[in-house]
């Protein structure tokens, strides 16, 4: 049970870490947060720091769960999966927002 929870935490932390890094990118920030202004430099730094903290915490948990060799391998591969999950979330959210906007434009009749 504890093993399963740790595993879940590793994936969740890596997902959060990747999400924080993704939001430092101008495109995704503009798509999801603020269309007019990109992220502030200070925001970017904070997001990067929190991304790194999440990744480090996940690495710690993975090594604590499976030992050095297996833990490191698990962390590397789970990082890729976390990044894919973030990418899927971004695609889904962006498409959703765009769909809403398109429909809004249609309703206004222009």
């Amino acid at each position: 049970m504890r093993d399963a929870l740790t595993l879940l935490a590793v994936f969740a932390l890596l997902y959060l870490g990747c999400a924080a890094l993704a939001m430092t990118l101008d495109r995704h920030w503009r798509d999801l947060v603020d269309r007019r202004n990109g992220p502030l430099r200070r925001t970017v730094q904070r997001l990067r720091l929190s991304g790194a903290v999440c990744a480090a915490a996940a690495l710690g948990l993975a090594i604590q769960r499976d030992g050095g060799a297996f833990g490191l391998l698990l962390w590397c591969l789970a990082l890729t999966v976390g990044a894919f999950a973030v990418s899927a979330t971004l695609t889904w959210r962006t498409a959703q927002l765009r769909g809403v906007q398109l429909r809004g434009a249609q309703l206004r009749g222009d």
Binding site: A22, V81, L90, T91
Partner: protein
């Protein structure tokens, strides 16, 4: 002041043609290698599915070699002189005793349950003797020709990966970007970039370690110089460590169980993986006991060699540093360890490699179609047919083989070969179908629909012929069967959804979905 780019445009252009050529010419081959490799990660589970008589519970305690295995060897040899025998002991994923005897007049194979009861011949090559060898040798064994071709394709994969990183101009800005809307071409390119960049560590690791495993074969000068080309002698020295000829004088074989106990003491615990006995009944008999590597990444199985007559340890030496590194890298590739999360990650990331290669091929096809207009050239049609045959066609052939495995009667003559014939027959048929119909784009839709049907048929046939339908398998704790059935049903659902989507009025859409799940 203008910033000089880190990678100059000229270098990007120079990297484009090897990337394109490596992908277009070897993409199909790499697809086979990646797909079969992904399946091989679960080879023992697929074996249980394809060999119903071996769907047994894991043994509870260690198996006695003297009480359970030696009577089986005597029975199998039936009085003939045995030059040597090998047994793989049962464990959770492979709950059977696998025996192989080298006797007068050829090799004898046998499968038995953990308590020493012989099982009927499995009548199939299964995943471990068909899908897995296809992955690394394409079943072309003579002169290691298949291994050479696979390693060449793998090096091309490494070329593709590294040149791809150089070509990708917006690697950080597009790091997480997948635009599923808008032009198909852009979506396919996004998918290609995404699978290439995010899974890059895995793809680099798996391609590199793949070559490392077969390095002694594809970099043979060292072996040629020291062993006169005898690769067996090299492997013996590097990882097995012992060989001696027959003495010619008869002497009884000492009990094996004490040897196993001594080997475990030398290892400081751990389970026995397999045991080899050479020259049994001869004064020069020797026994090699190898450790199971289920609890470590490295394939180092620390063999301990005993004298077969006295039972004394003859050799137990640690690996040299280079061999130890090679064993570790090989283990990283082969996933012999017991770690279910990692096993699934390897499977999924292996499939992401298929998506990478497939989307690369689609990218090329879409771009050329835009360049050529409506009339497709011969080159385009060949690549289009090949892309279809190596993605959906390969999936069709695999599913057809599994369906044939459950549909053919258990006592059909040369049953294993008939399954192989079905595999290649369906594959060739799908290639011909794709070739004949590729003028306006390959027949993605009909083949994907057929794959969905076949996957459902596999699950149904398994339920009908063995009674282990998914719910029964789950209730009986036959997790391997349940897992294979679940993946088959998921494949069917994905293929069906893809076929439906491809059936919509065409807006220049060439199946992206195939690449995702094939």
């Amino acid at each position: 002041m203008k910033k000089t780019p880190f990678i100059k445009p000229a270098l990007r252009l120079a990297m484009l043609w090897p990337h394109t050529w490596a992908g277009v010419t070897l993409g199909g081959m790499l697809m086979v290698i990646f797909f079969m490799g992904s399946l091989s990660v679960f080879a023992p589970e697929i074996d249980r599915w394809m060999m119903p008589s071996t769907r047994l519970a894991a043994p509870e305690g260690p198996v006695s070699l003297d009480q359970a295995v030696r009577p089986l060897v005597d029975r199998l040899s039936a009085g003939r002189t045995v030059q040597g025998w090998f047994v793989r002991l049962p464990e959770e994923r492979n709950p059977v005793l696998t025996l192989r005897l080298r006797a007068e007049g050829g090799v004898i194979d046998g499968v038995a349950s953990a308590d020493g009861a012989m099982l009927p011949p499995v009548g199939t090559l299964g995943a471990s003797s068909f899908f897995y060898p296809l992955h690394y040798s394409l079943h072309l064994r003579m002169g290691f020709i298949g291994i050479w071709i696979v390693s060449f394709a793998t090096v091309a994969m490494l070329v593709g990966l590294i040149s791809g990183v150089i070509i990708h101009a917006r690697i950080f800005k597009d790091f997480f970007t997948f635009r599923s809307w808008g032009q198909t071409r852009r979506s396919v390119l996004d998918l290609h970039n995404l699978t290439g960049v995010l899974a890059l560590p895995f793809h680099l690791m798996i391609s590199f370690t793949g070559v490392v495993i077969i390095a002694p074969i594809v970099l043979p000068s060292g072996v040629n110089a020291l062993y006169g080309g005898g690769i067996e002698g090299f492997y013996n020295d590097a990882i097995g460590g012992f060989d001696r000829p027959r003495a010619g004088a008869a002497a009884p074989l000492a009990p094996l169980d004490p040897m196993v106990a001594e080997a475990r003491r030398l290892w400081g615990g751990g389970k026995v993986g397999y045991v080899q006995v050479l020259h049994p009944g001869d004064a020069a008999a020797y026994v090699r006991v190898s450790r199971s590597t289920e609890d470590r990444i490295s394939l180092n199985n620390e063999p301990v060699v005993f004298d077969g007559v006295t039972g004394a340890v003859v050799k137990h030496a640690p690996l040299g540093p280079v061999v130890a590194a090679q064993r570790f890298l090989s283990g990283l590739h082969i996933v012999a360890f017991h770690h279910w999360s990692l096993r699934w990650l390897y499977f999924l990331l292996g499939l992401s490699g298929c998506a990478l290669i497939g989307s690369g091929l689609l990218c090329w096809l879409e771009k050329r179609r835009a360049a050529h207009g409506v009339r497709a050239g011969v080159g385009w049609r060949v690549v289009a047919a090949m892309s279809c045959a190596t993605t959906v066609g390969l999936l069709l052939a695999t599913l057809a083989m599994m369906a044939a495995n459950r549909a053919l009667p258990a006592d059909a003559p040369s049953r294993a070969m008939m399954e192989v014939a079905v595999f290649f027959g369906v594959w060739i048929a799908s290639a011909i179908h794709a070739g004949a119909r590729s003028a306006g784009g390959p027949p993605w839709r009909s083949q994907t629909g057929a794959a969905a049907g076949l996957a459902v048929a596999c699950v149904a046939l398994n339920g009908l012929t063995t009674g282990d339908h998914p719910f029964q398998a789950l209730a009986d704790g036959k997790m391997a069967v349940f897992g294979v059935d679940s993946v088959l049903l998921l494949t069917a659902a994905l293929a069906f959804a893809a076929a439906l989507r491809l059936g919509r009025p065409a807006k220049g859409r060439v199946g992206v979905e195939e690449a995702k799940h094939a």
